[in-house]
Amino acid sequence: MVVGVADMKVSNQPSHLLVTHALGSCIGVAIYDAQVRVGGLLHYMLPDSSLDPARAAENPFMFADTGIPRLFRECYALGASKARLKVKVAGGGQVLGGEEHFQIGRRNYAALRKIFLKNNVLVDNEEVGGAKARTMFLDMATGRVWVKVIGQNIVEL
């Protein structure tokens, strides 16, 4: 099952493989509860829904602050529990250069850390930043997460 840009899929079917292609500055968040085999994958574009609240209402998966809560809630609805969820994060790439401009990737990541800190969620593993393009996979049978750095290797998170 392909998760597009500004999109999310949750599942409790062990046969599913969730994948999101070519994360640039966007961020992919994979969460998985191994006990009930429930998980989901979110691909959001931008940090903050105050940019365009109307569009955020239409599609909450565009933004970190509206997409991340939805990802967790929909997994809870399928029986996942917060304490058991493993959380893995990939993306947030940047072009080369200074620290002040073209920083959407960095702000996307900062927004996620802020939300997680407020809600007491720990990130188990991550592959973020750098000038890299990444594709992210979540295997619903095992909860294993892989990240392929495009043009390079594949690593398990």
Binding site: G4, V5, A6, H21, A22, L23, G24, S25, C26, M45, L46, P47, L51, D52, R55, M62, G91, G93, Q94, V95, L96, G97, G98, E100, H101, F102, Q103, I104, G105, R107, G130, A131, K132, A133, V149, I150, G151, Q152
Partner: protein
């Protein structure tokens, strides 16, 4: 050892630029283009005409009436929109082959080129630039050098990426160090051979802004920025990822802030889905040959 002589030699066998797109390029920058001129450009190519009708009827334009002829397309879309479609349709043949040095996916370069064209168009509108069709075209053709350089890059990819990582320099500079020439320079040379308008050739040659000449024309800066934004958006990213320089002075020049970039990505996200009809235009080699025969 420099590969430049070898690469320049391969340009001697460069096929001609697709004739429909070539004719359409001469209509750019003109205040008025007549329907007769447009019809004249495409009438002998049924494959392209079919493409034009398909795109005109796509969700991207969201017209209520179905379009059956070029005349109708012109009336409902206007000459400038139709010119964009003609140029994109005419250029597809160039992008029919895979470019494995740069993209894993067979039509990766085509997708990236269309994305950049749409982003340049969007950016031109945002900045109130008069000639959006030229911006679209420059975005579409900015990376043509990759068509020729792909096989060389494929052979030396690991080496080029090592230079990128060790020295922290952008991809096109590492390309030049390893191969002797960058895809932008090869593209500029192709534009010269194909006799593109000067502005278009400048965009292609300088779109990574590594020479002062790049800053002499807003169109170069616009396409550079569109390219960067498309990379940040992801989806059509190539093997080199986002390994290009972000120059803040371009943002100052256009008076754009980070929040404006976010808004552009948001708009692009909406049009990207609807514009997928453009992505499907390039068939495999066989389909291209059929279109040619047709």
């Amino acid at each position: 050892m420099s590969l430049i002589p070898h690469i320049l030699r391969s340009l001697k066998h460069l096929p001609p630029f697709p004739v429909v797109a070539q004719r359409a390029l001469t209509l750019l920058n003109r205040p008025e283009v007549s329907i007769e001129e447009l019809v004249e450009v495409v009438k002998f190519d049924p494959g392209i005409t079919a493409n034009i009708l398909r795109i005109s009827n796509s969700a991207y334009f969201g017209l209520r009436r179905e379009i059956h002829s070029l005349h109708q397309a012109l009336l409902l879309l206007g000459t400038q929109e139709l010119l964009k479609i003609i140029i994109a349709s005419g250029a597809t043949r160039l992008f029919a082959n895979a470019t494995p040095g740069y993209f894993q996916e067979r039509h990766g370069l085509w997708r990236h080129s269309i994305s950049c064209a749409l982003m340049a168009d969007l950016l031109a509108r945002e900045l109130g630039m008069a000639d959006r069709t030229t911006a679209f075209t420059a975005g579409l053709l900015h990376d043509i050098g990759k068509i020729v350089l792909s096989l060389h890059v494929e052979q030396k990819f690991t080496q080029i990426m090592m230079v990128v990582e060790k020295r922290g320099i952008p991809f096109q500079q590492a390309e030049k160090l390893v191969l002797g020439i960058s895809h932008a320079e090869v593209g500029g040379e192709m534009a010269r051979i194909w006799d593109f308008p000067d502005r278009l050739r400048l965009v292609i040659h300088y779109h990574h802004l590594d020479r002062p000449e790049a800053f002499s024309d807003d169109l170069v800066l616009l396409v550079y920025l569109a390219d960067l934004l498309v990379m940040m958006f992801g989806q059509d990213l190539g093997n080199e990822g986002l390994a290009y320089d972000g120059f803040p002075q371009v943002l100052y020049h256009f008076n754009l802030r980070e929040r404006d970039l976010e808004r552009l990505l948001l708009h692009f996200g909406s049009s990207w889905n609807e514009a997928k009809v453009f992505f499907g235009m390039v068939g495999d080699g066989d389909a291209v040959q059929c279109a040619h025969r047709g």
